[in-house]
Symmetry: C2
Subunit: 773 residues, 2 copies
């Protein structure tokens, strides 16, 4: 990305009295990397001449970023967003269908669209709303195919330099174009000379192409008469259509307060069952199923970060009732002899990370999944909707203690806003499959909060009985305490329920006494409790006893809750550790899931106490000097805390086992889940994250274990003795370590790596000692 | 103590329109136990009729408490202290010499003095100031000898019930005396019926004696002509006489702002070298030395919480120059053949805890110390002053690695405000002896802060070179971070010093180059640095180089600092643990001293995460349910943290060794010092605290160890294999456990004790595993 450094460059002088510009670009979460394909102008002291505001959405991938830039000869102090722009640019043409962006254009202003449509195709393809608004605004309209230009000159998908140059070509009132080109080239040289003259020349070429690629389009006055609607497809769900969709289309500011009071959202709450219906369609490629190679292992579904590939067991009737024909194979296993099996992708929700394909073991070297162009699969959307949302999830045929069996469970966490290939969400999704119907979650601030809740969207989904995850986040460090409070409240309610039953046992009707007795006998067995809710409530309603009517208030509490405290390493090892420690010390039944990326992921990769020695991160630019904090061993020191270290890609079954054990333990549990992250810079990208998890365990970077206070010898090491010879190769497969030799020299880097290995050996040896009888 | 519960008792009705009363009583730190010998009236809803304010000083023993009580028929809302009282009571006659209390009496008001002086002795013994003020106020004056009455009726030292009754006898306008007696008896019955009828009857008797013991004293009008001064002995030190003394005499409110600007105290700082001169003389008995039985071990001094007993090596000249004759013995050991040895008590500073006597091993069963009446020793004050403050501390003859040798070091921490027999301060004092001249301390809030700093007093003292401890406290949880900041700042200064020297090495005079080179070679050796301060500063001053003048700013930083972070378990295990963990994780050279009483001592004994299972504390009234948090093992998990567990009474040499090792380690160090506390309820009192420390280790309640990251096998267990059979007897020797069988029944209590033993065994076994090669 070329940034034009405007000030304090003495060559630069803003000529315009005032020009306001608005850019719509593709961006990921603002804090990670802003405005990837948009023009970006950053100066050291720009507020004298230029003021820039950025508005991001918080989707980790495929989000929209708006850049509001003002230029002027006098210092600019205004702090509002631009809604009457001299110039608007849109770097992704799909946005013109989604957002009503030119309504913010000044009369007579200029609109620049980056598009692959030709001049000739344009009028027939663009939405009426855009054309009509341009005509009414008497706008100037330019297009450019920066995508094509970038490919042609060898810039790949990097269009921003071309678009920046085009911007200056259309805005010579800000500065003469020649001067802008000169400054952009200076900036490119400064940014890229380290990467070699070739890259510098490439950027020069991109700058030169910006002006030449512009094509002016005549705005026809008669467009003003075109009729149009919002362009949004209605789902029929009022909440979605009237509330979610406008916010997603950047029209949230226009919603009146009554739109929030209507849905009871004044406390900041949002509704479940939204993400699937957003159908963001941001993948370029999605997986397709090759049934002949499928061994029905469920790995694809198990590892999928977004829950957009799932196995289904189908009766003949269900196959016949589907909205379209589709391939199936004979389901394998006991009891499913009469059923068909299918792997189904949700093509408009899949983010195309390819993790499922990487993980698919296939048959005899032939994978049962491969990536194909998304357009070839969009016809399967109705089928996916049918299988995901209408056909019952069949969980009774395979034990959910197995990886395969667990994947017939409905995920209560689907299509989150996480990055494609996210290493955290497969754990979160798995927990939701196992316990989602009874889960209460306190979520720390960070990635897991962002992808779990960005108004109006949340990945949490209810089942047909209306059960699902109750989730909340409390800024900032008090997440453990927050979840602890949930547990205290729940315990209080449960104690109250039992007291009412016990106190009135002898005075109520025989039929009520019977269900009270059964309920008391059920103890903490949630499935047994669930069976009793209906009889208890109906019989309490019918009862002559006034004293038991209080139970009606607790209808939703009759089934116990599975309390989860979730967060990343920044929270668990650093910011929230004081509270986490206090909660672990207090012997209450809570489950803590630490999604351990070893770095502050959400805020862009700062070193945390979880980071290992020699890893490169912000605040540890030369490689971290100290060892990873051993949170697991620290928690084990209490004796009464269930502790597990898991790494899904290394041992899927151990992950599943640990999560189930942790939840079943009637006391505090801590699951430390090794979670690869975009910040790691895994070679080949996040579609290899499960492989990276496996390699991390093989070489001793991570050790798998479970510490179960219920056992006489609580500690079991679940991974094989590490092969420390593979440690450095593992480190070198991730940018966070692989950069170190370049930064520090081979010798120093390898001395530092030796330190990291020594730390790992120490940790492992301590575990071995503690695991011995 | 009898509390008269005023409301909502329907029998009670305040008759007075308004009566204001002021009580001066002996109290320890307000948060621990208020107003021990003063009248105390507490009701459930007293603000309707009565309003009470208490003003405490923060001395843990021998402090003064003032109780401000207002009575009225109408609700009382005022929130100021009383300075125009209808009635003033003083329960300790020593106070009339120290405080100008009757100046707050209303004209015609009543003054009640609890005194052992007879009616006849009174006039000649009381200070002129008191007599003159009573006369000018035309006061009514009563005395009572509640101390004698209490002894006679079998109440021992408990005078408060008698004084309360006397108060009501003199204030019948508040309510008729008969009614007050009735109410007091009801309250006594309620409070003491559990302890048996005998105690109830005793209290009844005390109530009945209150009125009868009153003696009215005629206030002679001619007293008004008596002349007087403040009654304070001047020390000659202006800061002490004009600033410290008035505050200590409760005249601090009258100090003008200029009194603070004058001494540069506006930032809240206070000066060292104050506590010794306060000469509080609060002991009843003090130790006397029996030279014939002395083996010169130094144990008495080592364990003394207040630094008021010290060994001295004296030359013949020093003996001859003393202000009085005194006994000595021949000093034993190499190089001291020409010297005399003496143990000297500071009688007016000693608080009389008797710990030195308990710890004295003596000779052939005969102790070299015994407690005697303080009055028989006050003549030695000038001798103590001479030895403590004038004779040089001779540290060169015995290695300070030995307990004996360490005690010839001057304590930089003396006569703190701690409780007599405090289990924390012997550690604090020892650290100050070893490193005091270069110490910077960040002190957490809690007991150690209170006894280290109560304006205008601090136990820190400077040596003849002006070196001493720089100490600060930062509310509340951020103490570790605060000390970390001190270390960062010091590191920055040290780096700057080296840079200035290195940058100018080749351009300065040869003589300067020589000392710069030596300084750089000295590294972290503070003694070597100290030798170079004078030559560096004088040569820099004389140098022609302007560039090196910057070093003059760093004169006080040329000798490195020993950074200490000190606090109790409430801070280290709970409130400040998040920060402590973060500081330990960051590999900076700081020394953390945790004074572990296993309970929040300063705030009156709440359970902390350091408390052991089954211990009784506030918030754990039925015995704590969970195990003690193993802070040591948690810190050891980092690998780079020096960790020691010490218990002075169990192994004095190991304590010394651990503290020296910790300080010498160039990284974070954590010393967990087992510290008995008044809250433990040790049988026989705190004079047995060193024995309790020994027993705790013998039975496995505490394990001594040192984890030194510099060693190949870092962990060494320093205590013998525990005899767990002694565990329950140890528990039963402290009220915090011994009450449990009474509370929970023998069976349950012993089940709980088994749990505590099991925890201890687990901790010990884990240590053993980790200490094995």
């Amino acid at each position: 990305m070329t940034n034009l450094s405007l000030t304090p460059d003495p060559n630069f002088e803003v000529k315009t009295d005032y020009t306001s510009c608005l850019f719509y670009g593709l961006g990921s979460d603002g804090t990670v990397s802003a405005n990837k394909n948009s023009i970006k102008i950053i100066g050291d002291n720009t507020d004298q001449y230029v003021q820039a505001y950025f508005a991001y959405d918080s989707k980790k991938a495929g989000g929209v970023t708006r850049s509001h830039l003002r230029f002027g000869k006098s210092p600019i102090k205004s702090t509002y967003y631009i809604n009457n722009a001299d110039f608007i640019s849109c770097s992704l043409d799909a946005y013109v269908f989604k957002y009503d962006m030119v309504s913010n254009l000044k009369k007579g202003g200029t609109f620049l669209l980056n598009t692959t449509f030709s001049k000739e195709e344009l009028e027939s393809h663009l939405p009426n709303r855009l054309l009509a608004t341009l005509a009414k605004k008497e706008a100037k309209f330019y297009i450019i195919d920066a995508t094509k230009i970038a490919q042609e000159i060898g810039m790949g998908r990097r269009t921003n330099t071309i678009l920046q140059s085009a911007f200056f070509a259309l805005n010579t009132q800000i500065m003469p174009y020649d001067q802008a080109v000169e400054l952009m080239k200076q900036a490119a040289k400064k940014s890229y000379s380290k990467k070699g003259e070739e890259i510098v020349q490439l950027n020069y070429k991109a700058i030169d192409c910006g002006k030449d690629g512009l094509v002016e389009i005549e705005v026809k006055p008669e467009w003003a008469n075109l009729t149009y609607d919002s362009g949004r497809k209605l789902t029929g769900d009022e909440y979605f259509d009237k509330h979610v969709a406008p916010i997603n289309h950047l029209e949230g500011y226009d919603l009146p307060v009554s739109a929030f009071t209507k849905y009871n959202l004044l406390d900041g709450s949002i509704r479940n069952n939204v993400a699937y219906e957003e159908r963001r369609t941001i993948a370029v490629q999605v997986p397709t199923w090759e049934p002949d190679n499928c061994i029905q292992c469920g790995f694809c579904s198990y590892v999928c970060p977004h829950g957009t590939i799932r196995p289904f067991l189908l009766t003949e009737e269900e196959v016949n009732n589907a909205p379209m024909e589709f391939k199936t194979i004979q389901a394998m296993g006991k009891g499913v002899e009469n059923m068909k099996y299918r792997i189904q992708v949700s093509p408009d929700n899949c983010v195309g990370c390819g993790l499922c394909v990487t993980e698919c073991p296939g048959k005899a070297g032939n994978k049962a999944l491969k990536m194909v162009d998304i357009n070839s699969k969009l016809d399967q959307v109705p089928l996916a909707d049918y299988l995901y949302k209408q056909v019952p999830y069949k969980t009774e045929y395979f034990s959910t203690d197995t990886v395969k069996g667990s994947q017939f469970l409905m995920p209560y966490f689907e299509i989150s806003g996480a990055c494609p290939g996210c290493g955290e969400t497969p754990y979160y999704k798995l927990v939701s499959q196992l316990f989602g119907k009874d889960m209460m979650v306190a979520n720390a601030t960070g990635c897991s909060m962002i992808y779990s809740s960005s108004t109006p969207s949340t990945p949490f989904v209810n089942d047909k009985d209306g059960n699902g995850v109750a989730w909340a986040n409390s800024l900032f460090e008090d997440n453990a305490e927050y979840g602890y409070g949930m547990a205290l409240a729940q315990n209080f309610k449960e104690a109250r329920i039992l007291k009412v039953m016990e106190d009135n046992m002898d005075s109520v009707e025989e039929s009520l006494k019977e269900v009270f007795t059964k309920y008391i006998e059920a103890g903490n067995n949630r499935d047994a409790q669930r069976e009793l809710v209906e009889p208890i409530i109906s019989r309490v309603k019918a009862s002559a006893s006034e004293a038991v009517k209080e139970l009606l208030e607790y209808e939703r509490d009759l089934v116990g809750k599975s309390i989860w405290i979730v967060g990343g390493d920044g929270w668990a090892y650093d910011i929230g550790y004081g509270g986490l420690d206090h909660v672990l010390a207090n012997n209450l039944n809570v489950n803590v899931l630490v999604l351990d990326t070893e770095v502050y992921s959400n805020t862009g990769g700062q070193s945390s106490k979880s980071s290992q020695a020699s890893s490169i991160a912000k605040f540890a630019a030369g490689g971290k000097a100290t060892a990873k904090k051993d949170l697991g061993q620290i928690a084990m020191a209490y004796g009464h805390v269930y502790v597990a270290s898991v790494s899904m890609g290394a041992n899927k079954a151990q992950t599943l086992k640990a999560i189930k054990e942790a939840e079943s333990y009637d006391g505090p549990s801590l699951i430390i889940a090794y979670s690869p992250c975009a910040e790691h810079g895994i070679k080949g990208g996040l579609s290899n994250h499960q492989k990276a998890q496996a390699k991390a365990v093989e070489c001793g970077y991570v050790t798998l274990y479970r510490f179960d206070p219920r056992k006489e010898q609580p500690l079991t090491i679940d991974s094989k003795e590490p092969n420390f010879d593979e440690f450095v190769p593992f480190l070198m497969s991730e940018t966070r370590y692989a950069q170190l030799p370049k930064l520090k020299g081979e010798e120093t880097a390898h001395e530092m790596f030796e330190r990291t290995i020594k730390d790992a050996k120490k940790r492992y040896n301590r575990l071995v000692k503690l695991s011995q009888e």
